[in-house]
Structure formats: C-alpha cells, structure tokens
Amino acid sequence: MVSLLDIIGPVMVGPSSSHTAGACRIGLLVRGLVGGTPEKARIELHGSFARTGEGHGTDKALAGGLLGFRPDDERLRDALDIMEREGLDYQFEKTTISDDAHPNTCRLTVERAGQIATVIGSSLGAGRIRLSEIDGYPVELTGTLPTIVLVAADQKGSVARIAGILAEQSVNLATMRLSRIERGGDAFMTIECDEPPGDSARAAIERLDWVKWVRTLDKVGG
C-alpha cells in the first residue's frame, strides 16, 4: 500500500534515492550485523553502483552508513574523510557479482572486534533496499522493521522456541524466515518485529545453547 509519506519523503542527502539513500541504508544494516562501526571493510560495487556510484556519492553513502550516519545526515558528504580521520580501513573496488544481480548491488565484507560478515545488498529504487545474502546464507532483509538475525544449529522446534520467547517478551512478529545451506547444517533465521525487541529478548535468545550468534538490527527506513 502506497503511503502519502512515501511520496513526500524521505528527507535525505542527495543526489539519488537509490544510489545515495539506499546505499546508506545498506551500510547501516551491515553495521548492525557486526554490532557497530567496522574497523575494516572491503566494499565491492556492481553494475550501476560501479559505473555511476562515485558521482552519486555511493561510496560516501556506504561508508557513512557503516559509520552509523542515517540517509538525512549531512556528514555523509564527508564520510570518506571522516573514515580516514578515524583510522578505518575501507577499500572500494568494482566487480561483477553475477549476471543476473540487480544493477545497484554491492558486496560488503566487514570486520569488527574479530567478527567478520560478508553481505550482498541491493538498492531497489526510492531508497528501498534488500540484503540477499549474509555469510553465504540466502536472506531477505529490507530494514523496514526492527529485525533479529541469528545463526543456530538446525534442530526441531527451534522456530517455536524462539517465537515463544518473543511472545513472552510481548514482541509481535511480522515475518520469520529460515534458510540453511545444507540439511542438518546451521540455520540462519531472520525475524522482523513490529516493535524493537529490546535487550532482554535478545539475551533470552542468546541463552539458548543451540543459538550460536544473534544480533538485533534497528529499522533503517520505510
């Protein structure tokens, strides 16, 4: 459903909702996956992101998102200088991710406090984004709702157990997706919530011994 405020908005730093605002949101979501500003990042730009990204500030927007700046933050313009000043090692390169990848796609490999994440994300137009792969797991993450992501050993009843914890914490689920690379291997779970899940919900999930890793991501748009 189209909302009036989708049309009169968003408030953003120019020049392009797809190449600037969307790129910033991808950076913000990826930052959330490692729990803060990464010290190192390898940023590979594909398609139109590679061809016209520099002129659209796509590099600045992605770096700014990793630094925690939102799409309407004027510091995005100086994000590359800020990155250097803070001693962060972000490298940009052009690549072809795959022939059928969306034209505005990038792959980010980020590292913070020893934790590494590799993510493929696309900017779909009008600032909407989708992360399609995290550490090799196929995902579908839009950042339009507060989201819990976790990696767990594949075992029966895991979805019900986590849904139960969230119900106890009065967190309403919007969507829940499970993906795994192989049967019996680890599963990647993406849970979009109507309201921010809060630290206690996260801690309760983290206490499950079959959960290997959990992060809560703030909504970044929409």
């Binding site: 405020l5 009169i8 392009s16 313009r77």
Partner: protein, 267 residues
Amino acid sequence: MYKSLADAIRDAEASGRTLSATALALESKDQGRTVEDIRSALRRALEVMRGAVERGLEGDLRSASGLVGGDALLVAKSSAGPMSNTLFSDVLARALAVQEVNAAMGVIVAAPTAGGAGVLPAVLTGLARNRGIGDEAVIDALATAGLIGAVVAERASLSGAEGGCQAETGAAAGMAAGAATEMLGGTPTQVGHAVSLTMQGTLGLVCDPLGGLVELPCVFRNATGSALALAGIEMALAGITFAIPVDEVIDVMGEIGRNMDVRYRET
C-alpha cells in the same frame, strides 16, 4: 491510498471536502496514524524544502562533477529576462536551488524522487510567498501532492529507470500543479484538470542524464517542469477542462514509459 484520482475527486466533491482533507482521512485510516501526526511529518518536509531553497540560493554549491551549481542565484538576481523579478522567475530559481543542493549532496525531500525534488517546493513555496499563504495551507497542499503521487505510483511509475523523466519531473509537475490549484482555492475537479493539463505536456519525456548522474539535465528539468506546472495551474483555474479523464492521462504516461526504449530510461 486511492488508486484513482477520479475516485478521490468524486469522494471529495460528494462530501464537500477538499482533496487534502479526503486524502489525510484515508491515510490516517490506512496507516493507523492520526491526521495531526501525518501533518507534522509533512510540516517537517516543508521545513526541509524551505531550507533547501534557501541553501541553494546562496549560490556557492557545486556538484560532484562540477557541472552544476550557482545557476539558481543567476536567475534570482537577473533583471535581463522578460519574466525577471516575477513569480515565474522566482519559481524557476527555487527549483534550480533545490536541485543544486541535491546534486551537491545536501539535504532535500525526495518528493516524489530526489531527481524531481525541486518542482514541488519551488511551486508551493514560491506561490505561498507571492500570495501570502500560511504554512497550514501549504501542508494541506503537500497532502494533495502526496495523493496525486500515490495514484501515479499505483497506475504508472515514479521511477526514471521505469518510466523516463515523465515519471519523475513529469509526475512532480502534475503533483505540484494539482496541489497548488487546491491551495489557490480551486475545486477538487479543477485539481484533476490541473494535473491533466500539466502532465499532458510532459508525456514522452525521456530520462537522459549525462554520465548517469542526477545533474544534467535534471537540474534544469526541474525548472522547466515547474514552468509547466504554473501553466497547468493557470489554465485549470481559468476554467479549462481537459476532455481526457485524469486517470487515463496517468495510464498513458505509464504505457509510454513501459514502451520506451531502455536507452531512454536512465544510465
């Protein structure tokens, strides 16, 4: 939101309300937010729009490529043209100003998109200043613009990559013309004619940015798009009725966009 402008106009006329009141009531129901909450988001949008106009008119910004910047101030200061120092030249300068801010990575409101972000602030804030219209009426006009944009998004497209520039600055011009027509006291039916009379002049407009950047001709398209909006407002308030229903004008824009060679739709 409405998927047909004809439906919205019919509901507004039947209830004796404006299109903005009709749109705000439906948005409130759709989104579960109060009308005041929606209007406060639109108020923030208006503040950002005004800020972008003022920032651009300072004249010192340059874009990434260096090709764009400083032209808003040229128009604002000029007395050489036949329309210098009129509402018309003021609206052109405001449209250029917002797009120069956009091209220089300044803060704008994407309405409907970043590439078409100059038209709506130029027409609405230019007219408001010229006519001494208060903010509450401009905020209502933004709601009407949002309604028109939502119908275009639903029936056609608001993306240059999908529909060419007619879907970005063309849609922006239609939104601005309709919104301003209501702000100046036009009826909901006249708002519909203003949208048609404006958008018919943008049909077939291609998206052909130099180097794929939102700079050339985008900055100037926002100025010429604003000029078309002023023409549409003038004709609609004079009482001209456009024989083709407004939803069909929007549908035709979508059809032309779908059939446009991909070379003429961005990058």
